[in-house]
């Protein structure tokens, strides 16, 4: 599908040559550092797109705190795009952003109106988020309010970009870890439908690396299949994320998990991969470690083309597919108005994110990692799974110790592997 969106065009062109596009997570408080970071990423010898990650004051709309931190010289954890003037950001981007190096703004804001205004003003045509995925994990903003504001922002962004704006749904990464694939996929499709409804026609859907590569491969396959089923004829691509939970601490462990994600992304048909760095377990990555991670991931993805194809586990595909469709259809049946349906789905517990503490999430579902390292349902709360769906009930409660152990599963697995 042709797109007029710069970001999407770049991804689709790379797809033609079967090259996985790579993207860092990167944001700096000062304009000089942000520009230097973007330039270094641009010059990596791989297919890369740039990222401007916003700081966490901007994400909670506390622009005064961002301004104060800048004045007092505190290191911000991202770029305060609302605090800088349009001219300041345009100067920062001068000669950096182009068709050859598109840039996406990433944040995590349930109420993103001012951010969309700032993005649109400087001519950036790609961002990330979603009414659910930028709301539930991050705070206490009521879901209803986030849905309303995201709807307005999508319409605003579409208008400002003459219908070419691109939004990536973050739903495939909900809480970073311990959310079973079927729920991630269902939420991604639903947020995709939400974007389309509100005028954004160029989208990407995300999917995060889990604890088991076969399961991830099956998840990517189902996501692709459901995009064909629910979002045909639109400009949609799949973006995979290297593991977003507690990260390996050793260099070898960090490289191993990054390599695995690049392999699964390449073989599973994702078009873009958001990489993490070896510094991740310790502190915010510097420009240098980001560059190393991008180069490493590129080599890993290219090498994966040469290895044998990973076999799809049909049984796994079927069970994820069935569960995801049940969730999507049940939500769509709740109301002819998708905005309303999304809200109702959470209040009824049809969508229920395990371990998510947001007041609008039922928090009755639980997941666990089974003996083979696969993420499974321990209980499904009020989610509309029927008896014919293969939902494994562990029949045991997840204790605090067990939860801690599961949160550290990938760290232990990859750090330990690398010692042996």
């Amino acid at each position: 599908m042709n797109s007029r969106n710069r970001f999407s065009q770049f991804i689709q062109a790379a797809k033609q040559t079967n090259i996985l596009v790579l993207q860092p997570r990167m944001g700096f408080g000062t304009r000089n550092a942000m520009r230097a970071g973007l330039l270094s990423v641009r010059d990596v010898s791989a297919k890369v797109v740039g990222t401007i990650t916003l700081d966490s004051y901007t994400r909670i709309n506390d622009y005064e705190a961002a301004r104060k931190a800048l004045i007092e010289g505190h290191a911000l954890n991202g770029y305060p795009i609302v605090t800088y003037t349009k001219e300041e950001t345009m100067n920062m981007l001068e000669g950096v952003m182009s068709h050859h190096f598109p840039i996406q703004v990433r944040h995590g804001t349930p109420l993103p109106k001012t951010i969309f205004e700032a993005i649109s003003a400087v001519g950036i045509d790609a961002t990330e988020g979603g009414p659910v995925s930028y709301c539930l994990p991050y705070g206490r903003v009521p879901l209803q309010q986030s849905i309303r504001e995201w709807a307005e922002c999508c319409e605003y962004f579409s208008k400002k970009t003459n219908g070419s704006g691109h939004i990536e749904s973050f739903a495939g990464c909900m809480l970073g870890q311990l959310c079973p694939s079927s729920l991630l996929i269902a939420l991604s499709i639903l947020e995709g439908l939400f974007f389309l409804k509100h005028g954004v026609k160029s989208i990407s859907l995300s999917f995060v690396q889990g604890t088991h590569s076969q399961q991830d491969l099956a998840g990517l396959h189902v996501l692709d299949r459901l995009i064909q089923a629910y979002l045909p004829q639109f400009d949609v691509h799949i973006v995979m994320y290297t593991y977003m939970g507690i990260y390996p601490q050793t260099l070898a462990g960090a490289n191993r998990i990054l390599e695995e994600s690049a392999k699964v992304a390449q073989l599973g048909g994702a078009q873009r991969l958001i990489v993490k760095t070896a510094a991740e377990a310790h502190h915010l990555p510097t420009i240098e470690v980001n560059i190393e991670a991008l180069q490493f991931a590129h080599a890993a993805a290219e090498a994966a083309k040469m290895t044998e194809k990973m076999m799809l586990d049909d049984e796994m595909v079927d069970s994820i597919d069935k569960e995801a469709r049940l969730l999507i259809d049940a939500v769509l049946d709740l109301s002819s108005d998708l905005d309303q349906a999304l809200f109702l789905a959470f209040s009824k517990g049809y969508l229920d994110l395990p371990y998510c503490l947001h007041p609008d999430n039922k928090n009755q579902s639980r997941s666990y990692i089974d003996q083979n390292g696969r993420l499974q349902w321990a209980s499904t709360g009020k989610m509309p799974f029927r008896k014919n769906t293969r939902v494994l009930e562990a029949g045991c409660s997840v204790t605090a110790d067990k939860l801690l152990e599961m949160l550290h599963y990938n760290r232990n697995k990859y750090d330990h592997w690398s010692v042996n």
């Binding site: 931190a69 290191a75 954890n77 510094a279 310790h282 502190h283 915010l284």
Partner: protein
């Protein structure tokens, strides 16, 4: 009260939070601890400990510290409480 922080701004915001908690009448004597990624400086985040202790936190846990340090703190805390309880009883 346990405050956990992940985004690297903890060393700034937790000081303000501690101040607000100390000012709240029925919370002013609440024992507070904090842990997580306190800044954006990795191992060098240790430099923020003193500032946070001065702000009123009884203990500061770095994110790379074993969980045992925290559970040990809790165990000692419960011993304190049972001592207190026995004295009252």
């Amino acid at each position: 009260m346990v405050i956990s922080t992940i985004n690297g701004h903890g060393h700034i915001e937790a000081v303000e939070a501690a101040r607000a908690i100390k000012k709240t009448p029925h919370l002013s004597s609440t024992r507070m601890v904090i842990g997580g990624k306190l800044g954006t400086r990795g191992e060098d985040n240790k430099r923020y400990s003193q500032k946070l202790i001065e702000a009123g936190f009884e203990a500061v846990f770095m994110d790379d510290q074993p969980i045992g340090d925290f559970t040990k703190y809790l165990e000692n805390l419960s011993k304190d409480f049972s001592l207190l309880w026995n004295r009252m009883a």
